[in-house]
């Protein structure tokens, strides 16, 4: 899309919306904004704007809407699907100056925060009250709450405590036309359609989030973890199903396959059993009585399911050590090869054995190594494909392998993305998961908020044209014959 006004003219008009020092237009200054957590994709923004008030956000969006310039909102830039990848002819709107916790209500157990506030900073601020903000994506030290809402972020505890959508009450946002809206309320429901739920996970396509009211939970008094090793991934999968069937909702239930376990062990020396083909970490939290009871019940189930080794955390240090390897799994795998590609499919848990078997088979077919980490409680699988981007064709082969895995997830009744979002990365697989009519409806939803299609274009939802092209091409990633086709 060609910007209908010149860049110089746009800069002049933006300077009427924000102080000049809040505008970055030199290539050198804009470089930090070229990419988000998905570094395989890079794009220098047309211009970067860093507003510091809601009124400035409104003015910028109204301006861009009136002159037809796309806008991409960005929080901390930790997203893993390229959702904050800049648009070559668009404004990159950074919310990084929205850093304030505006209000904490201890009795109502809510916090009203600006979108640039880091996820972990909320929990830290309310810790003295015995409260915390439950969703804990692995990037929680750095990721912002605005980004969490845009992506509906989860974390390792979301089977028990839910996703972002379950843990927020109200969102203030600015539409592309520059209008301020409040979605949700301080009460538990509101009048009209549930737009707060709709904007959660909308990947910055519907409105720019300027304030979030989050729910806070009482901090569990105690947490304890079990580490269980299996000589077979199917046995481990079976153990997970049995734990759930027994009526237990563990605070965390994570699995790593043999290659991931060995990579993690070599990296952080968590003392993981190296002969395991699958490792489970089962965590219980709550009152001390509850934890003791639940741990005992899980132990029996794990033994009955054929665990070859079971360990308990006796103190907080050991519990954290159990987690250390799992939390470092991505960088640990990263040491095995120059590059790795992280996949985010979700599958019904009962298909785990079959899906893993196919993933290993395809690993041979494509000649690419793979390690698997799995949020086993909620079926969210993260295969990590190892590759070397400097070898010609290897990135393309990796993307093709990744695409096959995602299509397999859809085939068994799952989804192409459990928590990382579609962004630019999985836009082609959207054509596999959704019918043409469903995609049309997504376009309808988008148009209700942003009739001109200027907010984060090219992300989240593919154009029907793109899907039609891909259908003929059997989903060959990012090698479209007409990359300039209009899409959002």
């Amino acid at each position: 899309m060609n910007a209908p006004i010149t860049r110089a003219e746009l800069l002049t008009q933006l300077a009427r919306c924000v102080p000049v020092e809040a505008i970055l237009s030199e290539t050198e200054d804009m470089r930090p904004f070229e990419t988000d957590g998905l570094t395989a994709y890079r794009q220098t923004p047309y211009v970067v704007v860093l507003p510091s008030t809601e009124a400035q956000v409104q003015a910028i969006l109204a301006l861009c809407n009136s002159v037809g310039v796309p806008v991409v909102a960005r929080g901390s830039g930790t997203g893993l699907s390229g959702g904050a990848l800049p648009h070559a002819e668009g404004v990159l709107l950074s919310l990084s100056k929205f850093m304030r916790i505006l209000d904490i209500d201890p009795l109502a157990r809510t916090a009203r925060v600006q979108p640039g506030v880091r996820n972990l900073a909320i929990s830290e601020a309310v810790a003295p009250l015995g409260l915390y903000y439950a969703p804990d994506p692995s990037s929680q030290i750095a990721c912002s709450i605005g980004g969490n809402v845009a992506e509906n972020s989860g974390g390792v505890h979301c089977l028990k405590y839910g996703l972002t959508v379950h843990n927020i009450l109200k969102v203030r946002a600015v539409t592309m036309a520059g209008e301020l809206v409040e979605l949700g309320s301080d009460a538990l429901d509101s009048v009209g359609y549930d737009l707060m739920a709709l904007i959660t996970g909308s990947e910055g396509l519907l409105a720019v989030i300027t304030e979030v009211t989050v729910k806070l939970l009482p901090k569990p008094q105690k947490a304890q973890a079990i580490l269980a090793a299996f000589d077979d991934v199917e046995k481990a999968g079976d153990a997970v199903a049995r734990i759930i069937a027994a009526g237990i909702i563990p605070a965390g239930l994570e699995m790593m396959d043999g290659p991931a376990t060995r990579a993690a062990e070599a990296f952080v020396h968590a003392d993981y059993p190296l002969d395991a083909e699958a490792l489970l970490i089962c965590e219980s939290d709550g009152t001390p009585e509850e934890v003791t009871d639940e741990i005992a019940r899980m132990k029996t189930i794990l033994e009955d399911s054929g665990a070859i080794e079971i360990r308990y955390s006796y103190d907080e240090a050991q519990r954290l050590k159990f987690w250390a390897g799992r939390k470092a799994a991505f960088p640990a795998v990263g040491r095995l090869a120059p590059d790795y590609y992280c996949i985010d499919g979700t599958i019904p848990r009962r298909s785990l054995g079959m899906v893993l078997k196919r993933i290993y088979e395809m690993s041979h077919e494509f000649g690419l190594e793979v390690c698997n980490v799995f949020h086993a409680g909620d079926g969210n699988l993260h295969p990590l494909i190892l590759f070397d981007a400097s070898k010609p064709g290897e990135f393309e082969r990796t993307e093709e392998y990744a695409g096959k895995i995602l299509e397999l997830c859809v085939e068994v009744g799952g989804t192409i993305t459990g928590e990382h979002g579609v962004g630019v990365e999985k836009i082609n697989q959207m054509c596999v998961q959704f019918s043409v009519e469903a995609l049309q409806m997504f376009h309808g939803v988008k148009a209700a908020f942003d009739p001109l299609g200027l907010l984060n274009p090219g992300k989240g939802v593919p154009s029907l044209h793109r899907c039609a092209e891909l259908g003929r091409m059997h989903v060959h990633h990012n090698q479209l014959p007409h990359p300039d086709l209009p899409r959002f």
């Binding site: 009460a187 538990l188 009209g192 549930d194 709550g286 997504f442 148009a447």
Partner: protein, 351 residues
């Protein structure tokens, strides 16, 4: 495709082509609150059956006409339940109606709302197109979350034909405690306890009595009982059922029954009439002759909204008005899903 579903789709398509509005009819259990007055009726009730249920997946997929009680019985047989504890209001209640109405029961403040448990939905839009959103897995962020949008949309965006819900294990043990307290003190206590690691699963305040239900592992419920004190309520299940089903005395008055959804910490609203508080203070029912505007203002002042739930006009339900920007967003969404406005016209905030 299933013959019944095909027939339902044909009906919606014809209605769309002829621009004839439809009343979407499930079990009719919530018609006292909302019911469109359209020239034709689309009857979903025959479209029944459990499509998929594997207890260890914590997910159930059900056709919309399936009786709610049948779903609950099946889950109970597997020691599971619907976490939002939906009200039935009549034995005919369907699962589709429970989702479309967006109503949650006593567990809402602690376990979550209908919306929170919806994982996927298959719908017919206003053109009779068969669309699937979300899925049958707990974590899914592909595409806009249209399935959650269906919860509470009163069928005005699409006719639900199939819904996938997350389910939860039934608690091992439950007990209810009671204290005699003034309203203001009870509200504060509900909120204070909400901030402590206690296994609270429901609260109510009625007639000077605060009741708190504790659910979970027996050891943790017993430990909470020791901590909280109070009197153990006998036959507590019957009480929570009467709150959920609105057979408790405050709901049965001939006066308009108002539902005020407010900030949980809101002080007593000062409206006259029999009232009952639920959801840790966040939901207040009142049978009152006050003018609608006065009740809506009271709710608004406390960060929420009010709607008339009983003894009103089901075809023209009283919702607090939306501000113009929100109204426009709502209307545009309606336009995208139902361009000719044939699905349950007039039910959702006036459109």
């Amino acid at each position: 495709m299933n013959i019944l579903l095909q027939s339902l789709m044909d009906q919606v398509r014809s209605a769309h082509d002829a621009a004839i509005p439809l009343t979407i009819q499930g079990g009719g259990s919530k018609g006292f609150w909302v019911k469109a007055e359209a020239p034709q009726t689309l009857n979903i009730k025959p479209y029944t059956g459990v499509v998929d249920y594997e207890p260890s997946e914590l997910v159930i997929t059900v056709r919309a006409g399936t009786p709610l009680s049948e779903v609950e019985n099946l889950l109970a047989a597997n020691n599971q339940m619907l976490g939002f504890e939906p009200p039935h209001y009549a034995p005919t209640a369907t699962l589709g109606g429970a989702v479309a109405s967006g109503l949650s029961g006593p567990r809402r403040a602690n376990a979550g709302s209908v919306r929170d448990f919806v994982l996927g939905a298959r719908i017919m839009d206003g053109q009779g197109r068969d669309l699937s959103f979300g899925g049958r897995v707990i974590k899914n962020v592909a595409g806009f979350d249209v399935s959650r949008l269906m919860a509470g949309a009163l069928g005005t965006l699409g006719v639900l034909t199939e819904v996938s819900l997350k389910v939860i294990p039934r608690p091992q043990f439950e007990t209810t405690l009671e204290w005699a307290l003034p309203e203001a003190a009870a509200i504060i206590r509900m909120n204070e306890w909400g901030g402590q690691p206690l296994p609270v699963s429901a609260t109510s305040f009625y007639n000077g009595q605060l009741r708190v239900r504790l659910s979970g592992a027996e050891v943790s419920v017993r430990s909470a009982m020791r901590q909280l004190g109070g009197e153990v309520v006998n036959e507590a299940d019957a009480w929570w059922l009467s709150v959920r089903e609105q057979s408790a005395p405050c709901f049965t008055s001939a006066r308009p029954l108002w539902r005020l959804s407010v900030r949980s910490t809101a002080t007593p609203l000062g409206l006259s009439g029999a009232s009952l508080i639920e959801w840790g203070g966040a939901l207040r029912w009142i049978a009152s002759d006050h003018a609608p505007a006065q009740i809506q203002k009271a709710a608004q002042d406390m960060g929420g909204h009010a709607l008339q739930f009983r003894n009103g006009h089901p075809a023209r339900p009283h919702f607090a008005p939306l501000n113009p920007v929100l109204a426009q967003l709502n209307q545009r969404l309606k336009q995208s899903f139902d361009p000719k406005g044939i699905l349950n016209p007039g039910l959702m905030a006036g459109f």
